[in-house]
Amino acid sequence: MLRGRARYFELVKVLGFTDFKLRFNTSILGYLWSVLKPLGIFFVLYIVFGYFIFRGADPRYKDKLLLGIFLWSYFAEASTAGIQSLLGKSHIIGKIYFPRSIAVLATSLNYILTFAINMGIVCVFLLIDGVGLNRYSFLFLLYIAELYMIVLGLSFLLSVAYLRFRDIVEIWTILITAGFYATPIIYPIEMVPAKFQKYLYLNPITFIVEYSKRVMVEGRILDANHSARTFLIGNGIIFSESLLLLVIGFLIFRRSAPRAAEYL
């Protein structure tokens, strides 16, 4: 019998992979759905915005849109699933003890796994479209890690709250929809009047999407209104925001999790 950490690591793995399997086993198209959904959104938005509205404004608009949509849809799906991760495992949580964080970690593992595969596909699309890797591309891994920290932090924070307030998911769905438009995904951030831009940057996902576009598509991080100093500060902000969210989320989770079984 396994004890301590080894056992719990095993459990995260098994639960995560099982969820992954179940998500795709039950529908005929299986895994394809998790690519087709954001791809479908991409085509619709590309026709509307790339063709009708911003036509010819930016030759790389298509690639930026694709990248932004996949980043956002990971964030939206993983955070929504994260909120429900405790309640979704109620049949186990109410019957046996294990650190409750395992349920949250397993769900996040499941979604980051899908995201990794999806990103591979996005990279292929980018390559086909003539966007290769550049010397800044490695920074993208950092942004994914930060996005994962944000998702995990939110999952910790909201999954325990969700046990008591069952309408959090509905509220979150609305926030996700609003967030999609508050993040420079379908429009370039330069389109936003300068005095509003700083408000947009209050949203950490804005940094991640904006900088991901720079390092993955444009291959340059500096321009007229983005000095090296601004770039470093920006990175510092995303990193500290993500870390702070994760720590606060985990601390609150750790405080309320022992009573989780009572609210199921």
Partner: protein, 418 residues
């Protein structure tokens, strides 16, 4: 091995169940603070269990048994006190923890075993044995949703008993499966006991408790009211439930009497599936009393039971009729059916007859009485028949010769061992 000290747990049950943020916000805006109703599930429970002991916990529903098991397996945190466990614990609060209907039997075994704390390599090693014990070799790759409930239970059980922990917490799991599988489970119990595992067992089945337990603890309203040898504690439990039962039946009786103060048709309307007949005479009620004539529904094996049957003859010149009484168990097994002599010779009006059992030869259980009035000659249809017209509850006195007997009938017997 296990030392539980002063465990207390109170649940706060909100007076008004608010499950959403919207309800909380609205409640706050309206200035209503509804508050909580405390439910004291456990009130200072202390006990010790020795290594290798088979320790059973009994008590009525809501007595705190399950809460105690959940605290022992760390699912709930106690408000006060705690448990010190001297070994690894495997809880079986439910069979098939983690089972998912969409996965195959094989995947479910791996998933459930991982939840119970097994490593992949260990599961690989044990897998053949698990599937073999469940007798499901042919169905390994089938989705669980296509399994019968019996198959699911067998699979779940097999997984559960492969786990090698020092302490096993078992909650009411033997109430499932068919007889031959139950037998297998009993064998596992004996094996585990033989291996010196410490077992905490919660069940309502007094037969199982008696067979396996070294000691039994009786919980009532969150307190330990009796702890010790199985016979003694089971007897205390029977007294407790008999007492409660008497109160409950009396209350129901009272309510019924008030309700039917106007009309005397208190049981069931004619023509319902509990009552039928051609009319002309009707059964009114059955009531029970002990040897001293005191009304009660609870009797010890061997006590005198007096059943009073009240009935009415409504039509003149009715073909001669007699009363019929059938006694049966909740599962439908008929213990006895008996018919009286003619009862309608005295003309129309309310009548009564007594059916006396000088020494009721039944073992512990609840017994139901069907009462009918039917023509003696024509057997095709009764005048009136009432199913489950009344019931009695029998318990076994700890001082009687039948104290260890199980089954339905208290047959007169004695043991002659050379």
């Amino acid at each position: 091995m296990i030392r539980a000290h002063d465990i207390s747990k109170t649940f706060l049950i909100p007076k008004e169940k608010k499950m959403t943020l919207r309800e909380h916000v609205l409640g706050y805006l309206r200035g209503r603070t509804t508050g909580y109703e405390p439910l004291r599930a456990l009130r200072g429970v202390s006990f010790d269990v020795h290594k290798g002991e088979f320790f059973s916990i009994i008590g009525k529903n809501g007595s705190g048994k399950s809460t105690l098991l959940k605290i022992m397996s760390s699912i709930y945190a106690p408000d006060r006190g705690g448990v010190a466990l001297g070994g690894t614990v495997s809880p079986f609060l439910e069979l098939g923890i983690g089972f998912n209907p969409d996965l195959t039997a094989r995947d479910n075994v791996y998933l459930s075993a991982a939840v119970l704390g097994l490593r992949r390599k260990e599961i690989d090693r044990l897998y053949g044995g698990i599937i073999g014990f469940a007798e499901l070799e042919r169905f390994q790759e089938q989705a669980l949703k296509n399994f019968s409930s019996g198959m699911k239970v067998r699979l779940a059980f097999s997984v559960a008993f492969m786990v090698d922990a020092d302490i096993l917490l078992i909650d009411e799991v033997l109430a499932v499966g068919d007889a031959s599988f139950q037998q297998k489970c009993y064998d596992v119990f004996r094996r585990l006991k033989g291996q010196g595992k410490t077992i905490i067992f919660v069940s309502h089945s007094m037969g199982d408790i008696k067979e396996f337990s070294d000691r039994v603890m009786l919980l009532h309203e969150g307190r330990v009211v009796s702890l010790g040898a199985p016979e003694k504690v089971i007897h205390d439990y029977q007294l407790l439930t008999a007492h409660e039962d008497e109160k409950r039946i009396a209350m129901a009786e009272q309510a019924r009497a008030q309700e039917s103060a106007g009309s005397r048709k208190e049981f069931a309307a004619p023509g319902s599936d509990r009552r039928w007949g051609s009319g002309g005479a009707s059964v009114e009620r059955i009531s029970f009393a002990d040897a001293g004539g005191r009304g009660t529904h609870v009797f010890a094996t061997g006590e005198e039971v007096r059943a009073r049957l009240e009935f009415r003859v409504d039509r003149e010149g009715l073909a001669p009729a007699r009363l019929t009484v059938a006694i049966h168990r909740a599962d439908g097994v008929t213990v006895m059916e008996t018919r009286s002599g003619p009862v309608t010779h005295a003309g129309t009006g309310a009548r009564a007859a007594d059916l006396v059992f000088p020494k009721i030869e039944l073992l512990a259980g609840t017994y139901y009485f069907d009462v009918g009035i039917a023509p003696i000659e024509d057997r095709s249809e009764p005048y009136d028949f009432l199913k489950n017209c009344g019931s009695i509850r029998v318990y076994q006195d700890s001082k009687s010769v039948y104290r260890d007997a199980t089954g339905i009938c208290a047959l007169a017997h004695d043991w002659r061992v050379a």
